[in-house]
Symmetry: C2
Subunit: 314 residues, 2 copies
Amino acid sequence: MDENEALELLGHLLPAAPPGEVWWGDDAAVVAVPGEGRQLLLALDTVVAGVDADLTLSRLSDLGWKAMAVNLSDIAAMGGTPAHALVSVAGLGASSLPELYEGLLEASTRYGCPVVGGDLSSGEQLVVSVAVTGWSEGHPVLRSGASPDDIIWVTSPLGAAAAGLRCLRERAAMDCTGAGDGQLSREQEALVSAHARPVPALAEGSVAKNVGATAMIDVSDGLATDLSRLARSSGVGFELAEVPVAPGATLLEALGGGDDYALVFTLPPSVVPAPAFEAVGLRPPMLLGACVADTGRHHLRGAPLEVAGWEHTL
Amino acid sequence: MDENEALELLGHLLPAAPPGEVWWGDDAAVVAVPGEGRQLLLALDTVVAGVDADLTLSRLSDLGWKAMAVNLSDIAAMGGTPAHALVSVAGLGASSLPELYEGLLEASTRYGCPVVGGDLSSGEQLVVSVAVTGWSEGHPVLRSGASPDDIIWVTSPLGAAAAGLRCLRERAAMDCTGAGDGQLSREQEALVSAHARPVPALAEGSVAKNVGATAMIDVSDGLATDLSRLARSSGVGFELAEVPVAPGATLLEALGGGDDYALVFTLPPSVVPAPAFEAVGLRPPMLLGACVADTGRHHLRGAPLEVAGWEHTL
């Protein structure tokens, strides 16, 4: 399928470019450039079927949503505002493309990040790459700015996505054996939704930046892994007091389960973030712990966090 | 392999960010935004091993070069200047990553488009996606601006890449049967190089824009296909008088063979482009023919060009 056939197939789904811009249909997409004082953010993340998403457990439209959402989450983790996206799809038959794009464009529309170009390729396995641009007013929030004694916050409880995947696997196993009725409770449905349709914390990232977050990262590979990345980039250690666990999830899922896309950020101890979050209708962030000067210290309630082990034990 | 392991592996190959910018190692790359009067160009193209590149015939470093070059060619075809690139790699073992990146970064350095971020994934098949940004001073050259009577130009002879692939296939067949010594002539080596290391025509695209090109496209899928795209976008037909064929290539390869990455552009009949090209040391463009008002007319020397058939006959 070439680009023109794809455009015919997707034409009714794709947004139209505003005057003076060119989206799709040319060699490159053209977008207007705002004035100075801003910084451009660029991110590219790939979702591979069978690796990052199990199509026996989730829908193609959910994979599309996720491919877009994980990139938007990268912009959120800088405190930025998404601008435009490009999408590359390899290894998907033309007849399935609309379902994939349905989820992609739903996330794209919801978070104001129009898909302005991309390409399609043949292949043996479905691979979806999404590139996004975003803007940061002034300096974005990096992973590397945390200081010893900064307080560590998280924008939501953790572990829901991993618990949702567990629910889907358990239901699939029950379906195979004929045990149970395959129905999910309301709590399980919320977990499954967290897995299938992760929400990029764009508003939260923006408020965190505005209250002066010193460092920020999104929880894509699990709190233990991602907080360790932030700590390493910043040259600090950490001492966690609490880990908020999503209802129905386990502590192990909260620490080691990925795909939550909550934001973890640090603030000087003098800053109380809740009012700024509540002022715009957001849930106040939850306290995790504090940064410490000892870079080798990665502790939860005084005991070492065995970082390397989390992914393998799930 | 996670990002940190990749950075360790690639650290000596990757360029360092200038002060005030962040490349790699954070959730998104941060680059400075130039002032107004410019337009941002965005492109994303994917190269799939076994589809867009045959690793039994070409090296992994050549695949890397190509993945970067095809995106730079998209920027060239707008008359733009490349700025930054993001690279996503799926389905490649860590031990092979440096070889892929060697070619990627060679093209990236040669054409001043630093790789500022990206990701890595598991997968069954090697899929390389590259996203590039570029800038256009004023309006870029689109596919859609050609008028009837505009003259059609091309920046170099065509068919070399397809002929180079043919040489490689013939040599591989000879190696299998034991016939011949497997040596390539100097002409054949030039064709193979055109296939393995396509050159994005960035300088040519910039000059074409400056002399007032009304429409432009790069020849990625073959002259017949790509010129038809330009004509359809512009609402014109075309009458070709000449098709410059690269030494050692056939007319069929020049018309239907892809991957040449020459630029085809249109100019009003009053504009003579050669002096502007020669002034900066570039080969003057070659005349292909003229646009006509009849959109159904896709002719070469008075006879219809059977567009659909070219790719299948190669």
